[in-house]
């Protein structure tokens, strides 16, 4: 076939394809393609795996960039070959060509080439896996426990970082920059998977097992992620955020987390809120240092009420930016933007300011207290789910009055 004949043939192919798909389909195809390209170029993509912000994510990135390029080229060649063959040799009633069986030289070549490519990829992949699995250079340990549908972080005593008593938090993982942090992950109920793309790959959290994941951030910032193992109704809402602070800011955060409980001022709305909390919320939520009226510590009993056996510890709740497993913001949009879009040298200061009355996202917090199951699918009504033995999954509807909600919000605002 000479050049002009080939050209004519290709033109015929393209015309045939366009005729086949029709005008509407072409428009749809064009819009889909443009959307795909536009989405691929998005700047505001916080869970983009191609933007590493720490050495562990960089190890993965260094591996996936060349592999993706090679795989892309091969994929393109295969796709073009398939489309070409489909269009050229489609059934037009022509006689079936002579059938041959086997072509050893070609088959061996086509086996050896991919095997060699995979072997080269395997060498670098194993190297990356071993680097990521390293634990003997760990500088800091954080225990991470997953449950439907939030993450708990507890920091065991580590005097090098000023942690002289265990710290327990949820929703946001706070870590110092330039520090090799090792997460010891487990789960209380079903398998979850922890993934903050900017800092490392995924690691499953399995009940009864401890799986480790290294995290390290180069610079201060807030990095988002979400559970990547289907774990039930609100799996898609099970988010997590890692807040990397400078070492000085991290020390301030640690000091604040270890600060003693400060009871609300006498005869204030917050004090009334504390009473509501003791009456309702403390059944599941712990606030360290909170005492009952009789002077005994208020110890939460989520194991008696919640299927997973735990509910977020709300001590220093207002030092976090989110609530309900990072599903909702504690900060109003403007205040959140101020923190999240802050340059790395001031983000720590802004984050440590916590949530003030002016910055509180009253709407979402009040809605949550009013009827949590309406905001997040949670199987919160155990009468509809006999398998939990009468225990809740997630926060139930508490039938709080608007007055009680106002008191509770005032109280929660004191948990700095």
């Amino acid at each position: 076939m000479n050049h002009s004949a080939k050209h004519l043939y290709l033109k015929h192919l393209v015309t045939s394809v366009l005729r086949m798909v029709g005008k509407k389909s072409r428009t749809l195809f064009g819009v889909s393609l443009l959307s795909f390209i536009a989405a691929s170029c998005a700047k505001n993509a916080p869970q983009d795996t191609w933007q590493p912000k720490g050495p562990n994510a960089k190890i993965i990135d260094d591996l996936q960039q060349p592999v993706f390029a090679v795989a892309g080229v091969i994929g393109l060649i295969v796709a073009v070959a398939v489309i070409y063959s489909v269009l050229k040799y489609k059934d037009r009633g022509q006689p079936i060509p002579e059938q041959t069986h086997g072509k050893p030289a070609l088959e061996i070549t086509l086996t050896i080439i991919p095997a060699l490519i995979l072997a080269v990829v395997a060498v670098f992949t194993f190297g990356a896996i071993f680097k990521l699995a390293k634990t003997d250079d760990t500088e800091m340990i954080i225990n991470v426990t997953g449950q439907q549908w939030w993450w708990e972080y507890d920091y065991p005593v580590q005097n090098d970082f000023g942690i002289t008593q265990p710290i327990i938090s949820s929703g946001q993982l706070v870590l110092p920059v330039g520090t090799k942090v090792l997460l010891r992950e487990t789960s209380r109920d079903v398998i979850h998977s922890y993934w903050i793309p900017a800092l490392n790959g995924k690691r499953d959290a399995v009940p009864g097992r401890i799986q480790t994941l290294r995290l390290e951030a180069d610079e201060p910032g807030i990095f988002t992620g979400q559970c990547t193992e289907f774990c039930g109704l609100s799996h898609a809402n099970m988010r997590m955020e890692a807040v990397a602070l400078s070492k000085a800011d991290f020390a301030k955060w640690v000091a604040n987390q270890q600060a003693a409980y400060v009871a609300p001022a006498k005869d204030s709305l917050a004090q009334q809120g504390e009473a509501v909390f003791l009456n309702q919320c403390v059944r599941c939520h712990q606030v360290n240092g909170l005492m009952r009226a009789d002077g005994t510590p208020a110890i939460a009993a989520p194991d008696e009420n919640v299927w997973s056996g735990s509910a977020p510890n709300l001590t220093h709740l207002m030092s976090r930016n989110t609530f309900a497993g990072a599903s909702f913001d504690l900060l109003s949009k403007q205040c959140r933007d101020e923190v999240w879009n802050a340059p790395s040298d001031v983000i720590g200061t802004k984050y440590l300011a916590g949530v003030s009355q002016d910055c509180l996202n009253q709407k979402d917090l009040r809605s949550w207290l009013r009827n949590a199951p309406e905001m997040l699918p949670m199987y919160a009504n155990p009468t509809q789910l006999a398998a939990t033995g009468g225990k809740y999954r997630g926060m139930p509807y508490l039938a709080l009055s608007e007055d009680d909600i106002s008191k509770l919000v005032a109280y929660l605002l004191t948990l700095k």
């Binding site: 340990i141 065991p156 710290i167 090792l182 399995v206 480790t212 110890i299 056996g309 510890n313 509809q384």
Partner: protein
Amino acid sequence: MFSTGFKYFMGVTVLSVVALIMSLFVLDQVAIAGVALSMLVVAAALLGGIAVVTRDGNRQSGVNEQSTDLVSQSIWPLVTSIGVVFLALGLVISSAVFFGGIVILLAALAEWMVQSWSERASKDANYNASARKRLLNPIEFPVLAALGLGIVIFSFSRIMLTVDKTTGASLFIVFGSLVLIGGILFAIKPDMKRSLGAAICVLGAVGIVAGGIVSATSGVREELVVAKGESHMAPECGEERSEHFDKNATGTLSLRSSVSATIELLDGQLTARLVGFQDPQKSLTISRSAPTNLIFHNLDAKDYRLVAELGTRAAAEPEGATEKNLVCTQLAAQGFEQLLLLKIDKPAPEGTSYRLVVPGVEGQSIELVVP
């Protein structure tokens, strides 16, 4: 216009859509059923599309004329009725019989359906028979082989549970050797009569099944009955009363990987080794209500067990009394390991602490911190 395959798959699609809509109305929890039915709708529609595009994969469709001969005898109506009987009996007797009935019914209907189709596929009875075989033999042979092997293996397991350990080991060696020798003979004598090979296999299988039936009727050996009654999982942190406990439980447990910590006893010193911590630890943080596995590794000369002291709990009697809440491993001889599963729901009351100790080893403990 529409091919037979297309009509079939479209029928399945429509029925699936109806089932999906009904499930939305009838079931409270639609997650699994909804996903399964949605997938069925998509798969059936896709197959229907492929069927109509490829004209059922047969460019010569319509060439083969259908047979008008009488159909041959079939065993499947009988098997189907047996399935229905099992189904009905299962409703009264047990769910296992019920599900057995469903399996028989579905298998018989599938066989019956394919046989009916193949007998009318063309006027050539031989072609029809080969069409049936080509479609069903790849399913029938593996299923029948799996069933046969399953029965033989199950029978063999019954024999092993009945005879004592030494006889069991000897039987295993003899049985394995016979299989090996048989395999070698078949390999070096490829021209051996097929009937002879089949006879040897059938005799062997029948012998094992007969042995299995005899063993099942005579019951398992005494040692296993006693071990079953020892309730190894019950907390028993005093003197070891069990006779048949597994003295190296972690050797057989996949749980030994990724445990929270390994508690080591060496030269009278108790330490915890945790992944990520460079040095041995004297305290261990355990999240509330999180199932936590620990391995106790005894490197000292005597037999020891690890005991978790978890405060107090309500005693069975008298009413209002409390007792020590202890959870422990079974004894571990020198060099052996035992597993301890902890699930602690609440932090220790103020002024107290939870800890791991080894009775008989004084002054050593690991603090359990429950935040």
